[in-house]
């Protein structure tokens, strides 16, 4: 044991504190007489260093991913988790929503949806809304829906109603709310500008994205963690980049280049440290460090579209669309920046949703009449939920 102890001391303390042979009296000068028997120094032949002294990692037999009722650790430290309320998709008949075919219209929600309970719902273009089951008026959520007629429809979810139509002078492609739900950016593939909507007053201001960097036709927007920056993908074959848009000055300050053609989606990790960009033009996925704007990883993914993270940011999920075959969700370890597995989907998976608890995942399939549900913890397919038509807009609302 003494050797073990000495080894530990040497490794946990001394190995980080050099040079070893120069330390004949480490407590000299302290208000204590120095010990004579100070630890030895490890030799190169010693066993591996301190990280091998960590408690061994749990094996699958020892710790499997818990089910919703599972308690993670034994003894007095058990902190029972609140169980999920009933799964809204417990049977196909529960999913009796009218699901109109939408345009290329990711929807935005404000205020932030809350976790109990949650289920995806859908709202359509042309004023068509879905039928949602019983809801709590206190949880009324606004849906901002880009309408191909050149407007943004603002819908209330409880009761379902049209709250406002916000006319635009371009055809919107997508809309993104910041994390606080205070500001939305509407993009257009037809105009080199974005519309910025105040979520409270519904006032619209237009900002030209034309600058020394060239025209920008925005395909996707993501906000930084503090909302001060917007990352805007320039949907270009010849000059693709991500523009960094300063929300305060309302101008493009710089660009992130070195990505593939036709960037289709940008997403910021929950802690704000990484920006992921999918480029459907050449089937590449790019990861940037937001502090330095340096590219830190690149992956090949067949026609990558939507990107999302689990709430803790440990996993990134990327919708990969095959041209003539069902697609997949490609799952990445967002900390080690490695690909983990694939989860099968329908044709052309697009928007991936992960529930606020990180336990339920859904993806719409643009060319299939069903939504795919998957398990973001076990990283497995759960089931396909039939819909009346393909769904292209999807998000969680509060019930």
């Amino acid at each position: 044991m003494k050797n073990k102890l000495l080894l530990f001391i040497a490794l946990a303390v001394i190995s980080g504190i050099i040079p070893c042979h120069a330390q004949s009296n480490p407590t000299a000068g302290l208000p204590l007489p120095p010990p004579d028997d100070f630890p030895d120094i490890p030799s190169p032949d010693d066993p591996p260093p301190m990280f091998d002294d960590f408690p061994p990692p749990l094996t699958p037999d020892e710790f499997d991913f818990p089910d919703p009722w599972d308690i993670p650790f034994p003894g007095p430290f058990d902190i029972p988790d609140i169980p999920d309320l009933p799964d809204p998709f417990s049977s196909p008949s529960d999913f009796d929503l009218e699901l109109p075919v939408l345009g290329h219209s990711p929807v935005a929600f404000t205020p932030e949806p809350l976790p109990l309970p949650f289920f995806p719902s859908f709202a359509g273009t042309n004023g068509t809304t879905s039928q949602v089951r019983a809801c709590d008026p206190a949880r009324d959520t606004r849906i901002f829906l880009p309408d191909q007629r050149g407007q943004v429809d603002v819908l209330g979810t409880c009761p379902q109603r049209n709250l406002r139509t916000i006319p635009l002078h371009f055809q919107p492609n997508g809309v993104r709310a910041d994390r606080a739900g205070a500001v939305l950016i509407v993009t257009s593939l037809d105009s080199p500008e974005v519309a910025i909507i105040d979520a409270e007053t519904y006032t619209v201001s237009y900002v030209s994205l034309s600058s020394s960097f060239g025209d920008i036709f925005a395909s996707s927007v993501a906000f930084s963690a503090d909302g001060s920056l917007a990352y805007i993908a320039n949907h270009s074959a010849s000059k693709p980049f991500v523009a960094i848009f300063d929300m305060a000055s309302r101008r493009v300050t710089t660009t992130l280049t070195g990505i593939g053609p036709f960037p289709s989606k940008v997403a910021v990790s929950p802690d704000g440290t990484m920006l992921w960009v999918s480029c459907r033009g050449d089937g590449t996925l790019h990861v940037f460090d937001t502090r330095t704007n340096a590219k830190i990883a690149m992956f090949n993914v067949i026609r990558p579209l939507g990107i999302t993270f689990n709430p803790t940011g440990t996993r990134a999920f990327v919708a990969a669309a095959n041209d003539f075959a069902p697609g997949t969700i490609e799952v990445f370890d967002a900390e080690k920046l490695t690909r983990i597995t694939s989860i099968p989907t329908g044709f052309v998976p697009q928007t991936i949703l992960i529930s606020p608890t990180g336990r339920h995942g859904f993806v719409n399939n643009l060319n299939s009449s069903f939504i795919t549900q998957f398990d973001p913890v076990r990283l497995t397919f759960v089931r396909n939920i039939n819909t009346k038509a393909a769904v292209s807009g999807m998000g969680f609302i509060r019930r």
């Binding site: 000299a28 260093p49 308690i71 609140i82």
Partner: protein
């Protein structure tokens, strides 16, 4: 042949020059390993920090052996950049086949958010964010994981400064040397042997929650980047095998919490505390079993449109073998002595899914039966099959007020019988558990928001003799995937307890966006040593069966 040669020429270099990769959120104080999202997650100027990743350096254990320390060690260099300012960190150890690099953060490193990048053989890694602070102390722990028994030396005499262990505890009044890193910058160079001398960083040390007198806080002479604190064990410090010790610097940041053994006369620790019925059994090692019937009642009223009371009943059978050791420690059994608190900081989502580290056995989990029957006095019985053998928690029932869910709870106060079938390692057994009336948390609905600098006082009534009351809780900061949880044991007979500000300083604040945090406080009770029921079974030497009750509430920590 030429083709083979060409392949070798082009393939071998490609293999040997793999790009270094730093894992995201894996830069931490080398003693505490506090996750980046936690209050102590910053890297102190002048401290030793760890970079974890792959291909960060050569294989084998490489240690810098000479002063002055260079900015390159075996081809590995590290830059720390903020804006236009870049400094070189000092690599001092490379381990785990290039998976870990330990380095000294220069005392002149720029404060605030920085990017850290490793270069190995001229190939740069990805930049990874970190935050540089003046001080953030980490105490070295025996398991090199930042928790459990710390690296402390009892000062007996000039010739005898043994490491504090279960067999060599300190005694009240004794001087102790604590090892760590992160006290703050020094004015001299970091790459040479540092001189002795107190650093200006304000320091407090708490032993079992009692403030200790500090006689030295500064660099360890001769040990660049490493600090020692010399303090006296307070005369009124609680005794026990696992007395929490933590350091509070700059009147703001709490270190990781380690433990030390303290006995009245310095004799070997006998785990005489009563915090957990199996503490003694765990400390001495062996094969044992624990049957627990849980009831938790959680008030969910943060981020919800109405108040929900969620009651969950469950059963857990934990069968394991443990090896005794000088540094034996397990968060489930090595509880603080009455009146003290500890903290676990974790890179994970502890309040939702991930385990507190260190709960796995030093020996092995024993395989018991896969069917558990819980029978109540009212005649009802439920048979559950753990989803994973052998230590799974299985739900027995639940109830949510205001929902259409049926009430399936069963663990009302009364007598219950738990029976399990035989498994490969442990025979089948039957034991009785008496569930007492639950305590009443008298100020549950008045505690939130909790101002961390003011402490947290909880009050209760209705606890019978032999029950140990504990207060636990914490925050999971979801976007950074980090958690801080505290665990306190109330003194016997108490009806209130205050979690001190220094403990709460170790957990993060609740975020304003409710989806980004999970914040809870629990008040619970379980039988102490001598009060829990016992059972016998083939394959284990000791069996304990107990009820555990936890009343919880969602809260906001500010």
């Amino acid at each position: 042949m030429r083709l083979l040669l060409a392949i070798c020429v082009f393939v071998i270099p490609a293999i040997s020059i793999a790009q270094p990769k730093i894992y995201q959120r894996r830069i931490a104080n080398s003693a505490s390993f506090a996750a980046a999202g936690l209050p102590a997650g910053g890297i102190a100027r002048g401290s030793i920090f760890s970079i974890i990743g792959e291909n960060l350096g050569p294989a084998g254990l490489i240690i810098a052996n000479n002063y002055p320390v260079g900015t390159t060690l075996s081809g590995v260099s590290i830059t720390v950049t903020r804006g236009q300012t870049t400094v070189d960190a000092l690599p001092i150890a490379i381990a785990n086949n290039g998976g870990v690099v330990n380095a000294i953060m220069p005392s002149n490193a720029p404060l605030g958010p920085v990017s850290v990048q490793v270069t190995y053989n001229s190939i740069k890694s990805n930049p990874v964010p970190a935050t540089i602070v003046n001080s953030s102390f980490g105490i070295y722990a025996a398991n090199a994981g930042g928790f459990g028994p710390g690296i402390l030396q009892n000062f007996v005499s000039a010739a005898s400064t043994p490491i504090n262990t279960l067999t060599q505890p300190a005694k009240p009044g004794q001087a102790v040397v604590l090892w760590g890193t992160g006290l703050g910058p020094i004015t001299g160079p970091d790459n040479v042997t540092p001189p002795a001398g107190n650093l200006p960083t304000p320091v407090k040390i708490f032993v079992g929650g009692v403030s200790a007198q500090v006689s030295y806080s500064g660099r360890a002479p001769g040990y660049a980047g490493s600090d020692v604190l010399v303090f006296s064990v307070p005369s009124n410090a609680p005794l026990g095998c696992w007395v929490p010790v933590y350091v509070f610097t700059d009147n703001a940041i709490t270190s990781n919490v380690v433990t030390m053994a303290i006995t009245a006369d310095g004799s070997p620790c006998a785990s005489s505390d009563t915090s957990h019925a199996l503490s003694q059994t765990f400390a001495t090692g062996g094969r044992f079993g624990l049957v627990q019937l849980f009831r938790s009642s959680i008030r969910e009223d943060i981020g919800t449109s109405r108040t929900y009371d969620v009651v969950t009943d469950g059963v857990q059978i934990d069968l394991r073998s443990e090896s005794a050791g000088l540094f034996s420690y397990n968060p489930a059994f090595s509880l603080p002595p009455p009146g003290a608190c500890t903290v676990y900081t974790v890179a994970g989502n502890v309040l939702d899914r991930d385990p507190v580290p260190g709960v796995t056995p030093t020996g092995a989990y024993l395989k018991g039966g896969t069917s558990i029957t819980v029978s109540g006095q009212a005649g009802g019985a439920k048979i559950v099959t753990p989803s994973r053998n052998p230590q799974s928690y299985s739900q027995l029932g639940s109830k949510i007020t205001g929902s259409a869910l049926a009430d399936t709870t069963m663990l009302s106060p009364g007598n219950y019988t738990v029976t399990t079938t035989a498994g490969a390692d442990v025979g089948g057994f039957t034991t009785s558990v008496t569930v007492p009336s639950p305590l009443t948390w008298t100020n549950r609905d008045q505690i939130s928001p909790i101002i961390r600098t003011q402490g947290l006082t909880v009050s209760w009534s209705g606890v019978t003799d032999g029950q140990v009351v504990f207060v636990t809780g914490g925050v999971t900061d979801v976007p950074t995937n980090s958690s801080g949880v505290f665990y306190c044991v109330a003194p016997a007979g108490a009806t209130s307890f205050t979690v001190p500000p220094e403990i709460l300083a170790a957990i993060p604040a609740t975020r304003s966006l409710t989806l980004q945090s999970r914040s809870l406080v629990y008040l619970g009770m379980a039988p102490g040593a001598g009060s829990a029921a016992t059972f016998t079974a083939q394959g284990i030497a000791t069996g304990i069966a107990m009820p555990v009750y936890m009343s919880g509430k969602t809260v906001i920590f500010k």
